[in-house]
């Protein structure tokens, strides 16, 4: 089981009387790209929020990188190696690309506590290397985020997760607000990550994208996992049937 990067068992989240997530058993292996699909309110984002410790789970167990974990906040999860691209991107608009990539984990020349001197050159070089590694195209990394297009911003946010030694990357609808070309660029980055063996969890509503990029599709419905499909064994119509509730896989039959 050393191959498994993340495993959850009986992961559950209740908001008062609302059962947003119920008994989710999930796992992702090294190098695997898994899509999470489902209707609005199906529990996809809730599931991610429990893994990344943005919220504290009601019940259930999580193992990450071979160890049982209970992260107290998103920082702990990130330090352990779970990098998340939030829908809001979490970029500082007035800072340029290297500043954003290294925000909160700057490379320093001398340590003077809060007044530690920044090593701009090293951060710049690491940024260029990181962007090249992920195949991100940015005309000018000294430009501030506010002067960039939505696609470029998304690329910067993704490149940030890939520049560091992450063990799992989670993306929450990275192409929802993007045009055709920009979507293609983000998809290329995801392909590059695949070649490099980085495991990715992708939340997406885009069936073509999921079929193109992912190995496995996990379908959520009304807070429960209702299907776990290998790409080769399914097609778009089949997945839609699971999403809408027309079908439920046998092993999850008790769930829905």
């Amino acid at each position: 089981m050393t191959d498994v990067v993340l495993r959850t068992e009986g992961l559950t989240k209740h908001y008062g009387g609302v059962h947003a997530l119920e008994d989710a058993n999930f796992e992702i292996r090294r190098g695997e790209h898994v899509a999470i699909m489902g209707d609005n309110g199906a529990g996809k984002s809730t599931f991610v929020r429990q893994i990344t410790a943005v919220e504290q789970r009601t019940k259930g167990k999580v193992w990450f990188d071979g160890k049982y974990v209970e992260f107290h906040d998103p920082l702990e999860a990130r330090e352990a190696g779970i990098e998340t691209v939030f829908q809001t991107l979490a970029l500082a608009d007035h800072l340029n690309v290297p500043d954003n990539l290294f925000l909160g984990r700057e490379i320093i020349k001398f340590n003077l506590g809060p007044f530690s001197i920044l090593d701009y050159k090293a951060m710049r070089e690491a940024t260029i290397a990181g962007l090249q590694k992920t195949g991100v195209k940015i005309p000018n990394i000294n430009n501030t985020i506010q002067n960039m297009s939505g696609g470029q911003r998304q690329c910067v946010a993704i490149a940030r997760t890939a520049t560091f030694k992450s063990k799992l990357i989670i993306m929450d609808e990275p192409t929802a607000a993007l045009g055709v070309q920009e979507t293609a660029q983000v998809e290329n980055i995801i392909r590059t990550l695949k070649e490099q063996g980085e495991p990715v969890i992708l939340i997406s509503h885009n069936m073509r994208q999921v079929m193109d990029l992912m190995d496995r599709i996990v379908v959520f419905r009304r807070g429960r996992i209702v299907a776990d499909l290998r790409k080769e064994e399914t097609d778009g119509q089949d997945v839609v049937a699971y999403i809408t509730g027309a079908k439920t896989q046998e092993q999850f039959a008790g769930a829905a």
Partner: protein, 360 residues
């Protein structure tokens, strides 16, 4: 450097298209305003604003006026350095004027001479306790501690109770003025020791202002402190999600702003050789205005110490220019008001243009 003209992934960009730093605009404004006074001087007064026209004095420039231009804004300039950093985080500090008042009163009480013209100075605040003729370090420590303390309270309130900075520092503004009046029941504190009087004598305030400006200018540009200050003002959520300890950083920024108000109080009371409860009134607004004129954005994330120093210079030139033209101080305030509003309008216009360009 090839990597500045060739983007990542084969894309290129034209470095000439880069937008002009806002400080250049402020510097141009400073030059234009100065030239306007020069022209008005020749038209109305038949004299030069900048250049030396006296036969009795050597030199090309009117050095006395240049000195006054910078000297009269140095003390508020010191406050403006702190306020600039607060505004960059997206906050505001209304308390600095009152903190100057309170700190000046308290610090001066530890700087009083024991004798005036050979007579015992029995009106000194701590005369009975024998705390007169203390070494210079005492009032300095007391003054810095007072400023730091006020700033710390501001910062803790803002960071941990999440009340808006406007309210927290408004409270401090009122409370600190109360402290200033309560300290001696409204009596001025006068007759400092010679060593204390030297702090604000001559051009010393200018050197202190310059030193602090350089120090914090470098800190904002080259240290983690500066990067986090800009990041918090740019997007507090992004800063938090990136692992910046936002609350702790805010406490530090407000504490430093308080500390600098303390420095200003020391220099001001020394320069005036007295401390009064009403000292520093409205300084906070002048300091904010200097920052805003210097291109510091009230919505946070943008601005620099260079800009604020230039903003302070614009203030100094206007005050000196009006005095030179023998115009009443009333006009001066009206023009100052118009310039502050004009600077913010310009800033918003500039920001709109930036976001429109990004949307293209």
């Amino acid at each position: 450097m090839t990597d500045t003209t060739h983007g990542i992934g084969g894309l290129t960009f034209d470095p000439k298209k880069r937008s002009m730093p806002p400080e250049i605009g402020v510097a141009i404004a400073l030059v234009l305003i100065t030239l306007a006074f020069e022209a008005l001087g020749w038209m109305l007064m038949n004299d030069s604003f900048l250049f030396n026209t006296r036969d009795t004095v050597d030199g090309i420039f009117n050095v006395a006026r240049l000195k006054i231009i910078i000297l009269q804004v140095s003390i508020i300039g010191i406050i403006a350095i702190g306020v600039t950093q607060v505004i960059i985080t997206g906050g505001i500090d209304l308390s600095s004027g009152s903190v100057v008042g309170a700190t000046a009163m308290i610090a001066m009480s530890f700087a009083q001479a024991g004798e005036i013209y050979g007579n015992p100075n029995d009106r000194a605040v701590f005369f009975e306790q024998g705390l007169v003729d203390l070494p210079l370090i005492m009032p300095i420590i007391v003054g810095l501690a007072c400023g730091l303390f006020a700033g710390l309270i501001n910062g803790l309130l803002i960071a941990y109770t999440k009340i808006p900075p406007f309210i927290a520092t408004l409270g401090m503004m009122v409370a600190a003025r109360g402290v200033a009046k309560w300290w001696t029941k409204g009596q001025p504190v006068s007759f400092p020791t010679d060593s204390y009087a030297a702090l604000g004598a001559g051009m010393t305030p200018v050197f202190i202002f310059a030193g602090i400006a350089i120090l914090f200018g470098l800190a904002l540009r080259y240290t983690v402190y500066g990067k986090h200050t800009y990041a918090i003002g740019s997007s507090e959520d992004a800063a938090r999600m990136s692992g910046i300890k936002v609350a702790r950083h805010k406490v530090l920024v407000y504490a430093l702003a308080g500390l600098l108000a303390g420095v200003a109080a020391l220099v001001l009371s020394s320069k005036n050789l007295t401390a009064q409860a009403g000292m520093g009134t409205m300084y906070e607004l002048d300091a904010i205005a200097m920052a805003v004129i210097g291109g510091v954005s009230l919505s946070g994330g943008r601005g620099s110490i260079t800009g604020t120093v230039l903003g302070a210079m614009i203030f100094g030139v206007i005050i000196s220019g009006f005095t030179f033209l023998k115009l009443d101080a009333y006009y001066q305030e009206m023009v100052k008001g118009a310039i502050i509003v004009g600077a913010v309008v310009l800033d918003q216009w500039r920001q709109r243009r930036t976001s429109m360009r990004a949307a293209k």
